[in-house]
């Protein structure tokens, strides 16, 4: 096997089969499960599932049709119990048989006011269930199709100027998920960039690098490390995406809105393409940094500076979302380190033409090539300079070729 691939394989297996990687891999799904659990638990604890009583003086609820699904974890359906008089309903409320009761006036729906009597403040779910119950029974004489249509109401579809992108206002998840995926990319880049930084610093500190460069060229070593660590990151990313998809598929059986989730293919492809040169840039920066700093503590401090421009779009998320073609959004799209997240955000809300995207992409690729070149020089000059910090000017000086 070629020595370059030996290094790629070593770097890959070294991280992937370590406990730290397994923990990192499990951390995201575990966090999601934890958050989901907390949401469900809080729903269960906060939402009062005891029945609601009613007194129907108008007759619209005689032989009432029950609504809501009691097994829905987020919006559990509630039982509705009819009482012949307010006194009996009041007695049921006092004894705790019902959590509240409402009285439909005789002249409903001419009079739309419905008194709701309760012992504790009614929660949102109860109010929604009562509204659905009344609405459904009011319209029950209509055909089912009409009923469903009226219940669904009106949805505004936001359409981008060229019509290439559109989102329904009630499909908020189709806006949130691309952003979450973009943030996921960044988490992966920074995590595996951190692995690379640590690996290079350690090898420099314990002098392994000096041995390795008597077997392979510094360029082979650096490139092998970068590709190995990028592969680790991509493995992490694909595993997360695969299991997220699987989880959505399984969960969509009991959580209906999940089955409506759809990621625009061009959005995914363009962002995946964009992430690769961005990934190479960050990895090259980390390799260069590792080779030029004096120790792991300094490496951690300096790497924080690189994180800032990458995360910068998140600070400006409000101006970017409110004006996705504004000066801040456009400027951050041109700047290589901030471009991946900026574009991921912009492309949800506006149209970035193929020409614009190509320009941003070319800038990103050129920056990645430049960073590789810079990293190779930094690696060559810095790998054996123990205890001495290398300045950028040292790397750029022509004499580097003599080192």
């Amino acid at each position: 096997m070629d020595k370059f691939w030996q290094i790629v394989k070593y770097e890959y297996t070294r991280h992937v089969f370590r406990k730290r990687f397994i923990f990192a891999l499990l951390s995201l799904p575990l966090m999601l499960v934890f958050l989901l659990g907390i949401t469900l638990l809080s729903g269960l604890l906060i939402s009062d599932r005891s029945p609601v009583g009613y007194v129907d003086n108008s007759g619209i609820l005689s032989d009432a049709v029950m609504t809501g699904n009691p097994k829905d974890p987020f919006e559990p359906g509630l039982s509705m119990i009819a009482y012949p008089s307010e006194a009996e309903a009041e007695s049921a409320l006092s004894s705790g048989k019902v959590q509240a009761f409402f009285v439909v006036p005789e002249n409903y729906p001419a009079n739309l006011n419905i008194p709701l009597h309760f012992s504790a403040d009614p929660d949102d779910n109860m109010l929604m269930q009562v509204r659905d119950f009344i609405k459904t029974n009011l319209l029950r004489s209509r055909p089912i199709a009409d009923l469903e249509r009226i219940q669904a109401g009106t949805t505004f579809i936001q359409v981008s100027q060229d019509g290439s992108r559109q989102f329904a206002e009630n499909e908020w998840y189709n806006l949130a998920i691309p952003i979450l995926v973009a943030i996921l990319f960044i988490v992966v880049i920074m995590t595996s960039g951190g692995y690379l930084l640590q690996a290079v610093v350690e090898e420099k500190e314990n002098r392994t690098m000096e041995i390795i460069v008597t077997s392979v060229s510094p360029m082979q070593l650096m490139a092998g490390k970068i590709i190995g660590n990028i592969s680790v990151g991509l493995t992490q990313l694909f595993i997360w995406l695969f299991f997220s998809g699987l989880a959505i598929l399984v969960a969509s059986r009991s959580i209906p809105f999940l089955s409506n989730i759809k990621l625009p293919l061009d959005y995914l492809v363009k962002n995946l393409l964009f992430i690769l040169p961005a990934y190479v840039s960050v990895a090259a920066m980390m390799a260069a940094l590792g080779a030029t700093v004096t120790g792991s503590q300094e490496a951690q401090q300096v790497s924080g500076i690189f994180t800032l421009p990458i995360m910068m779009p998140l600070w400006f998320v409000a101006p970017i979302l409110s004006n996705p073609n504004g000066p801040i959004a456009v400027f951050l799209s041109y700047f290589p380190l901030s471009a991946p997240i900026t574009l991921a955000l912009r492309m949800v809300f506006t149209t970035v033409t193929d020409l614009q995207w190509s320009i941003f992409f070319i800038i990103q690729v050129l920056f990645a090539v430049f960073m590789l070149w810079l990293a190779a020089r930094a690696f060559r000059i810095g790998m054996l300079q123990y205890g001495k910090r290398i300045r950028l000017v040292d790397i750029l000086r022509k004499e580097v070729r003599h080192v």
């Binding site: 070593y10 314990n206 002098r207 000096e210 041995i211 003599h402 080192v403």
Partner: protein, 302 residues
């Protein structure tokens, strides 16, 4: 084919001249000592030979030509500061290093297993490198230096952290390698080891070669006009041509004047009936020569 040919190499770092016009050559089948005090330029010279650094001026040829990626497979290097991956098992680390030297996976595994047994490390092979003692790590590092059967072996302080038994084992291995026709370049501060092992040496000080040649040539060059004697009874009070008599490691050292030869002194002692048990020319140790050159002083004379 010359193993190493170094011609007039110089290398500066900023305003510091680390190596200044250094030349030497190393032949197959010899152990060559590269000596010098700390900071003399030895390690920089080695790194230039290994193509880790490029010289500012001068020429280096290794194994008959310029250094290439392919030639790296025929060189074994043991740096002064050891460098093994600390967080992985010994066996895995050594196998990876061996494969980077171009060995096939199966061959590497077989050789590593054999060498681990030779170096008494086989039972430790599953341990992480950092769990080994310093001496064990040194032996593991030696395995990475030798496992690919290199034509050229460059070792920097090979005996550090080794106990006497392991020191002797490494010495035997180096002599075996030399006898197989390999070229061995050894950097060390342990002059006793150099005296026992090296066929030729260069001494570098302040980046320049200040001494080179075979061990016997160098000793002869630095031999003084003094003789060491061991005898029964007393020495005559005045021996013609002898300026001074001083104790020296249980013997007496006779310091001769400019015109007297050891042969004349021997003749005089025999004629005067001194019962001689030993008579030899006072050849300086390599330690003494080293200190004399590096510090610019003669130890005996303060």
């Amino acid at each position: 084919m010359t193993a190493i040919q170094v011609e007039n190499i110089s290398k500066s770092f900023g305003s510091t001249r680390a190596v200044d016009d250094v030349s030497f050559e190393v032949q197959p089948g010899e152990i060559f000592g590269l000596l010098g005090p700390n900071g003399a330029g030895k390690t920089t010279s080695l790194r230039i030979i290994l193509d880790i650094f490029k010289p500012d001026t001068g020429l280096v040829q290794v194994l008959g030509g310029k250094m290439s990626e392919e030639k790296k497979n025929h060189i074994g290097y043991l740096p002064e500061e050891r460098g093994l991956y600390q967080d992985i098992p010994v066996e895995r680390c050594l196998n990876f290093m061996a494969q980077l030297k171009g060995l096939d996976k199966k061959v590497a595994e077989e050789r590593i297993a054999k060498m681990l047994k030779t170096f008494d490390l086989y039972d430790e092979r599953k341990k992480k490198v950092k769990e080994l003692s310093k001496g064990m790590q040194q032996k593991a590092q030696l395995i990475t230096t030798l496992v690919h059967e290199p034509q050229l072996i460059i070792i920097d302080e090979p005996f550090s952290a080794l106990d006497p038994v392991n020191t002797q084992m490494v010495k035997d291995i180096l002599l075996q390698e030399r006898n197989k026709g390999k070229a061995v370049v050894m950097c060390t501060h342990q002059m006793a080891q150099v005296e026992q092992l090296c066929d030729r040496l260069v001494l570098i000080n302040h980046g320049q070669v200040v001494l080179d040649g075979t061990l016997s040539d160098i000793r002869r060059k630095f031999a003084s006009r003094d003789v060491l004697v061991l005898y029964d009874g007393d020495l005559p009070l005045n021996i013609p041509g002898v300026r001074q008599v001083v104790p020296h490691n249980g013997r007496r050292k006779l310091v001769l004047d400019e015109t007297t030869t050891p042969h004349q002194v021997l003749k005089e002692l025999v004629n005067t009936g001194v019962q001689l048990d030993d008579f030899e020319i006072a050849v300086p140790t390599l330690d003494e020569i080293f200190i004399k050159i590096v510090s610019g002083r003669d130890l005996e004379n303060g």
